[in-house]
Symmetry: C2
Subunit: 362 residues, 2 copies
Amino acid sequence: MTDRIRTFPWQKLHEFCRDVFRRLDVPEADARVAADVLSAADLRGIDSHGVARLRSYADLLAAGRINPRPRVQIVRESPSTATVDGDNGLGLVVGPAANTIAMDKAASAGSGWVAVCHTNHYGIAGYYVLKALERDMIGWAMTNTTKAVAPLWGAERVLGTNPLAIAFPAKEEPPIVLDMSTCTVPYGKIEMAMRRGETIPVGWAIDREGRPTTDPTAMLDGGALLPLGGDREHGGHKGYGLALAIDVLSGVLSGANWGPFTPPFALRQALPSRRVGKGIGHFFGALRIDAFRDPEEFKTQVDDFVRTLRSTRPAPGTQGPLVPGDPEREAEKERTRSGIPLLPVVVEELQEVSRNTGVPFD
Amino acid sequence: MTDRIRTFPWQKLHEFCRDVFRRLDVPEADARVAADVLSAADLRGIDSHGVARLRSYADLLAAGRINPRPRVQIVRESPSTATVDGDNGLGLVVGPAANTIAMDKAASAGSGWVAVCHTNHYGIAGYYVLKALERDMIGWAMTNTTKAVAPLWGAERVLGTNPLAIAFPAKEEPPIVLDMSTCTVPYGKIEMAMRRGETIPVGWAIDREGRPTTDPTAMLDGGALLPLGGDREHGGHKGYGLALAIDVLSGVLSGANWGPFTPPFALRQALPSRRVGKGIGHFFGALRIDAFRDPEEFKTQVDDFVRTLRSTRPAPGTQGPLVPGDPEREAEKERTRSGIPLLPVVVEELQEVSRNTGVPFD
């Protein structure tokens, strides 16, 4: 794991992703959107959700487990809501389509809320709320995911890392863009500690017996992540409650699978013990600002809020509070200029995808 | 603090609250609703938000800081949204009125979202989402509150404890009712530790210099609560982001004050350094289930989810996971039967309210 990291222009990775999806029978326009979503993750520094996942998407497409040409359909709707069946398409394609429906509903009804079933992993939640900002709206995005997290006081994986993103436009300041999972840390952080031979802090995970552990291997080997907050004393019931609410909105309300029955993302993972719906679920929302307040006034106040946060007296040893979205925006600036750094293991996976699909890489 | 705890039938406390509000010029119907909200807190075991706060409400009314006869008005609206000006009324009156508007919007447009400015503290967020359940809807409630919480890496109070409640109806099982603040623990837990001479766990609070502290007095004396997650390593940026998002929705979107400028709840607390809007802010939402899915199907699936959670293998030393809303429902069952236990300090406050208003107590 100490091998040389290689850096690629994002455009090159985008093109590769697009061509791989094309080769796997995804239509041109959809392949481009799917590559956009992956590139957004790479550019924003969320390495786990970008090209590093291309192989899983490609595997599932090649195995016929994802439909490359879905007919995405509204199956129920009201003036401000819709339920969408993703026809088992790529989440990277179904997600953007459903998110657009939410924004279109908001344009006409003030707000738009879309629950999606029969879909697959949709990349970073942040991508969707950035789209809402382009239309001067407040954006919301949630999804359920494969089980990885124990409910507080449980000894096994029942819930996903169920992320929530929400974004607010500003005027002169950059927007506020919150994009968070509802567990303490993502799975990838546990894997990284294992590879480095390091321990993990108390509050991140439990072992297969449900006991708190500082051993990353004990979590990976049948243990579970802890919800945001960790134990009861530190508010673990709150992170658990958030993960559950996101699952009900994304999974249950849409008619998707939920909780421990949410299908896995990679071919090698075991299928759930039963089926309670179709695919995984997403939930998108959009609020038109002028449905509540003059947008210029709103954005001027968000500027003021952002500046107030930045002028907060810093805690010792820190530069003071960041505003949600700062780290991702910094990463995007840097990576647009100097490229996307990829670990050797990721490069090898992309080379394998290249061999399997015949799309040249490198 | 070890004095005898006295127990009162909730109806008696409800009647006392109602009569106190009446005496302070609140109209009969509003006084009854305000008492309903306080009783909901007492019954559900959220002692800090029930009659224990009556004196603060009464003080602010008596001092003319809250308008007893507000004209609650929609100032902007769309088919699924509204902004409401609470005319500086009791949050316990403005909140229920605005929440009803959200539910009425949902009835006609599928979803309803109402931002409220120029209002005051509204009791427990849980009250509002229970109202949505009565109409077979998914309910949401948020509010900003007086500053008490430091943003991650800040050394001072900037944000409120900004709660979020959300509720989902079930069929045979009880509903899922999440009602949580976005900090690790409420202010009251720090005060309780101080009175008992106990230390507090790392992750709850910082002192006035912004350093982590286990001394409750150090927090109370110019320190701050930490957002859910605590430090960076345990996801404190996530709790901070949630508190901020709730503040933007409740405060900024409505035209209320926000962040450190949110007015305080008690007469004795200092006023903020500047005014950036009107009063405090709330945000309510309602989703009509049949706008997304057949309600019977939805509720059957929620039942299944609840049972799945209850059958999760328990962590050692626990009875296994609870479902959000369980503790409050248990408290309500018990307290409906055997009454509301009040600390001597609360009884003394109510006696003082009684002397000041001439409404008999005890």
